[in-house]
Amino acid sequence: MSIDVFWRIPTHGEPGSHRARDPFRGDWFPGNDNKTLSGLGGGGDDGFTYIDYLAEIARAAEISGFQGGLIPSFPNTDEPWVISAFLARETKNFRFMIPFQPGFLNPVVAARMTASLQRATGGRALYNIITGGGGPSQLWWGDPVKHDDRYGRTTEFLDVLKGIWAGGPFSYNGQFYQVEDAGLPDPLSKEEYPEIYFSGSSDAALASASKHADYYLSWLEPFDLIKDKFARVKERTDHLGRKIKCSIRVDIVARPTEEEAWREVSRGFENIPKEILDRYKAQNAGDSVGASRQRGLRPQTINSYKDFILSPNIWTGFSLLRGGQTLGIVGSYENVAARLDELVQLGTDAFILASTPHLEEAYRVGEEVLPLVRGKSGASNLRAVA
């Protein structure tokens, strides 16, 4: 069984490289607050909007061999449902991985949106169900439900979605959701149920994932932790009689030589302003278990990018370059492929990869790294013959 590799769509602008900090594609550059500067090139009125650039990335990803892409959703990003619908018609293979929190949508509406998107794309929609986060940010989204309750709600949401998917009639009387004699109408009810990638590290998350996820999705963590985590997920779901697969989303810097890759990271590190480094040291917010696990990996002293090297090719400073997760893979094409293969050996069945800028790097990773990944085949790649 070969592994699925996805790419990522950058939903809040795009710096030119890992060295640069400010977006130069899209309008997320500093100072563009409360303004309508819709153009792509630094915000000038060039007749384009950010979706024109995202369309380029989606095409680059599908042309260079990725399954599709994760389309992240955060308070200051564009929204994945919209992006997926907008790009449905101009992509051929690209699978739209839509992250969303179940509390934000009536499950019957979500089912209709998904089935329509499946019809519009020939079955290319899938979910990344998110439940974590918490604290004030959850109320920013307009969601007052508490952390452990939210996983209960996620379970109920997916119960309803699955129940009505094939047409029903389905009735459900949950704590958060109720439906009576519900079901998707024909022909929407003929569509394939979306594959579900599920995020969350707490026990409540794992219980919910065990019931509904196809893939358990984790950030990259130290390899021994990943191995334990995936073993625990698989044990738990096996216990419930469901087989679940595991996946990792990870940022990478891949270059022809390892030296070039580290040079890129080093330049990026030199460009981090002091106040960002200070804030990083003091960071503490949210009740996400995954986020606090990653905070524990912070180096004691920070003098050089090298202080963030955890193990061969694993760098823990990515959140300082771009925000988001901390661990990523840095190295030659062969190095990166080897680390991915190790992760496959530890139980990984799928990857969501990303690198900046997402457009050019989609081609690079598709052309240079993916052909070197052996996955579960174990055999060396035929490409080595040439």
Binding site: G13, D27, W28, N32, D33, N34, K35, T36, L37, S38, T49, Y50, I51, A55, N76, D78, E79, W81, V82, I83, S84, A85, F86, L87, A88, R89, G103, F104, L105, N106, P107, V108, V109, A110, R112, M113, A115, S116, L117, R119, A120, G122, P136, L139, W140, W141, G142, D143, P144, V160, Y177, Q178, V179, E180, D181, A182, G183, P185, P187, L188
Partner: protein
């Protein structure tokens, strides 16, 4: 501002016939019952979906001079926000009037999705917010257990929150249905283009809600006198807060009245509906309501239909939400033969210039 014309997209199937089950354009045919029988090879396989047809109707509306498309929310059909996004990239000027009800979920999430729509389309996204089905049984099928008497209050809160986070930072709100803390969008998401808001209904409570929130109040198709009364009723309640009025009405227009009547009767035969004894009125209540949702249809020659629409315009209607079956061919017909006449009748200056 000149009158605005919207063409309705068929979100739940379309065909040439009154009996809509007979054919659904773009749907992959059942392999057990090939449409062409054994006589002709069918090269389509699964190359097309119903969305390809919806896309064609959209392009037809764009090319034939409409100002927007109306994407109705039929629970038996495609989800309107997905349809709006799907067709958006292929249009340059059409407004995307998208219908939904306030049971869809978080108002903040709806507003945030609207931000991306507005950013990507240059502010062409518009909301027609309805009360959903009047039938409680159907609302429960759709996961909505809020009692009927609370539905307008929920719409009120939904719009308050959506407008709040789209225009204010930080925005705080605690209501019966929605709650936000320090909400609102920053950076490039804060461009503050609230979708145009369309509401409807003739009860005092509905008119008051429109007076509070709507940019456009949508009227169902009835005779001209009744429209005049409804507009007067709104103005009495609104105490000076102006809205635009939109009329949602179907049209069956042909070169001659005889042809229109012939086609109207054939359509009713196909739907197995009764044919009216008196076919002289222009407005036929319920004519294609099952297909389009509009309460009545104008039936007549191009001149007659255009004159009737212009007469509504003279009463204060400035926007028309039109539909006809089948939606693709009729978009071209109405755009080509009816809209120019209405525009001339309602804007004589333009006629002189031409």
């Amino acid at each position: 501002m000149a009158n605005q014309f919207y063409w309705q997209l068929p979100t739940s199937g379309d065909a040439r016939y009154g009996n809509a089950t007979r054919q659904r354009r773009g749907e992959a045919s059942d392999p057990n019952y090939p449409v062409f029988g054994n006589g002709v090879t069918d090269p389509r396989r699964n190359a097309f979906s119903y969305f390809d047809y919806i896309h064609q109707v959209t392009k037809a509306a764009d090319l034939s001079g409409f100002n927007g498309i109306f994407i109705p929310d039929n629970p038996d059909g495609e989800e309107p926000w997905i349809v709006a996004g799907y067709v958006a990239r292929s249009t340059q000027r059409l407004k995307l009037l998208t219908q939904f009800d306030a049971s869809r979920g978080s108002a903040v999430y709806a507003a945030k999705n609207a931000v991306s729509f507005q950013r990507y389309t240059g502010g062409r996204f518009a909301w027609h917010i309805t009360e959903g089905s009047q039938d409680e049984r159907i609302r429960k099928q759709l996961g909505d257990f809020v009692p009927k008497q609370d539905i307008l209050a929920r719409i009120d809160e939904f719009i308050t929150v959506a407008k709040g986070v789209l225009t204010t930072f930080p925005f705080n709100f605690v209501g019966r249905f929605f709650e936000v803390q320090d909400g609102g969008f920053q950076g490039p998401l804060s461009d503050r283009q609230v979708p145009s808001i369309y509401l409807g209904g003739n009860s005092t409570a509905q008119l008051e809600l429109s007076a509070k929130h709507a940019d456009v109040h949508v009227l169902d198709a009835v005779e001209h006198d009744a429209i005049a009364q409804q507009i007067a009723a709104y103005r009495q309640i609104a105490q000076g807060r102006a809205v635009d009025f939109a009329l949602r009405i179907d049209v069956l227009a042909r070169e001659t009245r005889e042809e229109a009547l012939e086609d109207a009767k054939r359509f009713l035969n196909q739907t197995e509906a009764a044919i009216p004894a008196d076919d002289s009125p222009l407005l036929w209540p319920g004519f294609s309501e099952q297909h389009t949702g509009a309460k009545a249809s104008l039936i007549g020659s191009y001149d007659e239909v255009a004159a009737a629409l212009a007469a509504y315009a003279h009463l204060g209607v400035t926007q028309f939400v039109l539909a006809a079956v089948p939606h693709f061919e009729e978009a071209y017909r109405v755009g080509t033969h009816v809209l120019p006449l209405v525009r001339q009748l309602t804007n004589p200056a333009q006629k002189q210039a031409a």
